[in-house]
Every structure is written in structure tokens, then in C-alpha cells.
């Protein structure tokens, strides 16, 4: 089999909002208080199964939350297929900063069509009872920055309780793999070759080419 094609997803947002925990919950289905601040960035891949049984490989990049590390974005954001903006529903500043994170991301990742670049918003830590950011506020942010076809969906999640984490990443996977372009048979397995919306626009081929997902 050819090397599996992978969709690159970048998690960004202020320090301490739970980017690492969200990823850990998705990958390992568990939460621990014993985690440390992220310095630099790294990725873990995760296979996500969509409603129709299709499987998509997500390469999920976790990044440092302190603003001064955002200058490394040139290296870590390039080639991204989607971006997850994370804030803490109990901390208004982290929500207010999403705007800045989004702008900086788009500047450094420089996709061809920034307004249509796949984004989602996750408000984390809904298990705590000190919420200060309402769903309406998050929705308003998302509406402001949604494009013509790219609609930003807002999720409220708890990495601790495992609420809505998978749903959010499944949504991302669906967002970047909307069209089935071609069908191939590879051995006994069915291989669906997909193109992400971004790649359809950009026809960028050097890194990933198409997204190939093993079905069945």
C-alpha cells in the first residue's frame, strides 16, 4: 500500500486552555492532571472514522500557548489543512485572544483562500462551573469569520470528562474531506481517494497529494 495520506490539523490558543488535554483525550481517551506546558510543537496521528464508515488520518499538531512562541508558526502551521481554535469557557481573555490567534495563523500558514480555510472553535473546560463565555458569544465570533462555504462550527467540550472531543475532531475530518473524487480497489480493501477542499482550491501537490483513506 502507498503511504497513507494525512490531514494536518493544528491546535492553537492561549496557554492552559487545554490543547494538549483535548488531544490526549482524543488519542488515549483519558485525562490526567499530570501534564506539562507544551514547548515548541509536535504531532500525533489519529484515525477518525466518519459516519459513513470512511476513515481519515488526522495529524494533530499541538503547539505552545504563550504568544511569544507564535513566531514559530511559519514552521508549524505550514501545510495545515485545518485549524482548531481553543479557548477556556471560564476565562474570557482566552476567548478574546482567538481573534489574534486566527489572524496570526492565517498570516503564517498563508493558505490561498484564507476566508475559506477550515476552522473550528472549541470552548474547553465546561466541566468547571465558572463559565464566563456564553455560547452566543462564541457563535457570534464564528459567524464573523465564517466564509461563503466554510462555516465555523463552535463546540463546547470537556477534555476532562471526554465530552464532545471526538465530535469536534470528526467534524474537522468531515470538513476537510467533503468530496469523493475517485474510487480504487487495492487488494481486498477499498480505498477511497479524497481531496480536501483546500487542495481542490490550491491544487497543492508537493506534500500530500490526495488524501487516501482506507475503508472497510
Amino acid at each position: 500500500m502507498k503511504s497513507k495520506d494525512i490531514l494536518k490539523v493544528v491546535l492553537i490558543g492561549d496557554g492552559g486552555v487545554g490543547k494538549t488535554c483535548l488531544r490526549n483525550q482524543l488519542i488515549h481517551r483519558r485525562f490526567t492532571n499530570n501534564y506539562k506546558a507544551t514547548i515548541g510543537a509536535d504531532f500525533i496521528t489519529k484515525e477518525v472514522r466518519l459516519d459513513n464508515g470512511r476513515k481519515v488520518m488526522l495529524q494533530i499538531w499541538d503547539t505552545a500557548g504563550q504568544e511569544r512562541f507564535a513566531s514559530l508558526g511559519v514552521a508549524f502551521y505550514r501545510g495545515a489543512d485545518a485549524c482548531v481554535l481553543v479557548y477556556d469557557v471560564n476565562n474570557y481573555l482566552t476567548f478574546e485572544h482567538l481573534d489574534r490567534w486566527r489572524t496570526e495563523f492565517l498570516r503564517q500558514a498563508s493558505p490561498n483562500d484564507p476566508l475559506e480555510f477550515p476552522l473550528i472553535v472549541i470552548g474547553n473546560k465546561i466541566d468547571l462551573s465558572s463559565r464566563v463565555v456564553s455560547r452566543r458569544q462564541a457563535r457570534a465570533f464564528a459567524d464573523t469569520y465564517s466564509g461563503k462555504t466554510m462555516k465555523i462550527k463552535c463546540f463546547e467540550a470537556s477534555a476532562k470528562e471526554g465530552i464532545n472531543v471526538e465530535a469536534a475532531f470528526e467534524h474537522i475530518a468531515r470538513m476537510v474531506t467533503p468530496e469523493v473524487i475517485d474510487m480504487n480497489m487495492m487488494g481486498e480493501e477499498e480505498c477511497v481517494v479524497l481531496k480536501s477542499s483546500l487542495e481542490l482550491q490550491n491544487d497543492k501537490s508537493e506534500r500530500k497529494g490526495q488524501s487516501c483513506c482506507m475503508g472497510g
Binding site: 496557554g15 506539562k36 506546558a37 509536535d42 504531532f43 511569544r68 513566531s71
Partner: protein, 355 residues
């Protein structure tokens, strides 16, 4: 297995003995301990530096508690003073809440909480003393190690001097100066291991995989506290660029595995950014020192064609820090001045004075 005296002496240190002749090794270690004690008694900083960068370094935390304050010029310790809050304390707090992850199993929660309170104080004190310092995620890791080995009072003064003279390039108004240090990793590889350099260049790898090693002296990445302390012996006794040489050496030490990887930027970055936990620290330190001697900072900067600023702590190390006489008070005025001016990009004037 019979009880090993050598192991007892090196309790809480890292190195693994490969010597078949343990008696000889024990005798050597005894001799080293004797020399360290003598150097401490004489306040012989030059001798302590030599011991810190060779063999098993300063051997154990008992000796470190006496030697580090001499090496870091902080014998008097620092006190907690009332002062205006620094704007980065909130970020530090977020990181402190996630600190001391690698404490030995069985450490009580209350002890961990106390460490965290002390850590917040250490960081706040340093920042409040020099309001132009910028905190970065990872400085808290450095301070945790100081706190464990030295206790709060000494850790405050030690952290202050590390911030001002050894890691200042990470604490200016942007990370750019420390990133420029990190870029020199590329030059080291270019001259030391062209094959790896070619592989990395073709795979479009930037040296950012080594960032946390450089800004936390590996304390963010190594789980074994003994190994971290051994590395700190080395770094507090060396030019600030030493951590970049170490990063280069770590890449070279894994060259076989590295060269077998697919040329995929993301996987290579992630492979390289994982610190090899089982590495023999004494051995890697010796090899790193070798690299440093082969391409000292002045030579390396010249080779790179893109020298660091003259205000880089790499280039002020000798003038502002390592040449200080043992009884001379630490003078912060020039470091404070450098912190207060926006970053300029003046290359070093006289490259010969760097070492």
C-alpha cells in the same frame, strides 16, 4: 547483586557505570569528590567549572548545593521583596500549575503544592527585580531544577543570574535572539556531519525540534532528575551556546535511525524532538564538549555567515560573566541595559573576544 559503593556515591546522579573494574571507578569517584570539596573550600570557580564539565560532573546533589552557588555567584541567596507585579506572572502561574510532573513516585501532593508555591515565588522575584525580562514557557522548568537542588532562597538568586547572563537571549522582547542561536545548530551539522545536514536540508527541517532543550537545558524533556542535574552542572559552567552544541550532538547520536526515516518533514521533526531518555549523559556531555572545542562560538558564528548580535549572551558571556573574579559582586547594569533596548542586529565587533 552485591551492594555497590559507587552506586551509593552517585545516588541521584545519572551515569550508568560501564566499567568492569568497579573498585577503580569507586576510587576515581572518591578522588573527584575530594577535589570538588577542595575547590568548594577554596572557592576555586575555575576548578569547579573544569570538574562540572567532565566525567560525572559534580556527582551528587549534596555537592551541587555547595558548588552551584559559587558557579552561579549566588551564595548570598535572594530574598522575597515586595515589588510591583510583573505582567508575565500570570503566564508563569499557568505553567507553575503544570510543573513538577516528574517528581519521584510517592511524592506527596502537599509537597508538590509547596514546590509549586515556591516556584511561583522564585519566578516572580526574578521578574520583579528586572522588569524588562520577559518570561517564557520553559523558564519555569529551569527554576524547578534550581529549587529542588538549592532550595528557595538560593534558587531565586541563581535563577536571576541565569536569566540575566546565560538565558537572556530567550528573555528579550522576542524569542528571535534565542532562535538565532538555535539556527547555529544547522552550521554545526553542516561542518560536522554533512550527510545529516544534506538530509535535513532536503527534508526542509528547521532546528526548532531542539527549542525546548535549548531554553530549558533539557529539563523539560528528561524524566530523570539526576540526569537533569548533571546537565545543569555542565550548562552553568559553560558558554550559553553550549545547549545548541548539545542539541547538535543529540542529532548526530541518532544519525542511523534518522537517516532511515522517510523524508517527511513532520515525522522527522517529531522524531528529533523526542529526547532520547536512555542516553548516557556523561558520554554525550564529553562529546558535546568536543564539538564545542572544535567549533567554538566565535568560529561557529563566522562559519555561519550570520553572527549573533554583540549583545547576545553568547557574546557577552566572557566580559560580563565568566571573567568575574570570585569575590566581585555581580554587576547587572549592562545586562539591564541590553534588556531595555529593542533588539538591534549588530554583529559582533571583535569576534576574537567571544570565547
Amino acid at each position: 547483586m552485591p551492594f555497590s559503593h559507587t552506586k551509593l556515591l552517585r545516588k541521584r546522579t545519572s551515569g550508568i557505570s560501564h566499567s568492569s573494574n568497579e573498585t577503580k571507578e569507586t576510587a576515581e569517584l572518591q578522588r573527584r569528590i575530594h577535589m570538588i570539596n577542595n575547590a568548594i573550600a577554596r572557592k576555586d570557580i575555575a576548578e569547579l567549572r573544569k570538574l562540572a564539565v567532565t566525567g560525572p560532573g559534580l556527582v551528587n546533589d549534596g555537592l551541587r548545593r555547595l558548588a552551584w552557588p559559587l558557579l552561579l555567584r549566588c551564595e548570598k541567596g535572594g530574598e522575597v521583596r515586595e515589588a510591583d507585579e510583573h505582567s508575565d506572572e500570570a503566564q508563569a502561574k499557568l505553567d507553575v500549575e503544570r510543573s513538577f510532573v516528574y517528581l519521584p513516585k510517592g511524592t506527596r501532593t502537599t509537597a508538590k503544592k509547596q514546590y509549586q508555591r515556591d516556584l511561583q515565588e522564585v519566578i516572580a522575584c526574578v521578574l520583579r527585580r528586572h522588569l524588562d525580562l520577559h518570561y517564557y514557557q520553559g523558564f519555569h522548568d529551569i527554576c524547578s531544577v534550581l529549587l529542588i537542588v538549592l532550595g528557595k532562597q538560593l534558587a531565586i538568586a541563581a535563577a536571576e543570574n541565569i536569566a540575566m547572563f546565560l538565558l537572556r537571549d530567550a528573555m528579550l522582547d522576542s524569542l528571535e535572539p534565542i532562535l538565532r542561536q538555535l539556527m547555529l545548530l544547522d552550521t554545526i551539522l553542516q561542518f560536522e556531519d554533512p550527510q545529516i545536514h544534506k538530509f535535513m536540508t532536503e527534508s526542509n527541517i528547521l532546528p526548532y525540534f531542539g527549542l525546548s532543550w535549548v531554553i530549558t537545558w533539557c529539563s523539560h524533556d528528561i524524566k530523570d532528575v539526576g540526569k537533569v542535574a548533571r546537565l545543569f552542572d555542565f550548562f552553568i559552567s559553560s558558554n550559553p551556546l553550549m545547549s545548541v552544541y548539545l542539541a547538535a550532538r543529540l542529532v548526530i547520536s541518532r544519525r542511523q535511525e534518522l537517516l532511515m526515516l522517510e523524508r517527511d518533514n513532520a515525522s522527522i521533526h517529531t522524531f528529533l524532538s523526542k529526547f532520547p531518555q536512555n542516553i548516557d549523559i556523561d558520554d554525550i556531555i564529553a562529546k558535546t564538549q568536543g564539538l564545542y572545542n572544535k567549533y567554538p562560538p566565535a568560529v561557529l558564528q563566522k562559519l555561519s555567515g550570520d553572527p549573533l548580535d554583540e549583545t547576545s549572551c553568547v557574546n557577552t558571556y566572557k566580559r560580563h560573566w565568566s571573567s568575574l573574579k570570585s569575590n566581585a559582586p555581580v554587576d547587572y547594569s549592562l545586562a539591564d541595559l541590553i534588556l531595555s533596548i529593542p533588539q538591534t542586529r549588530k554583529p559582533v565587533r571583535d569576534i576574537s573576544e567571544v570565547r
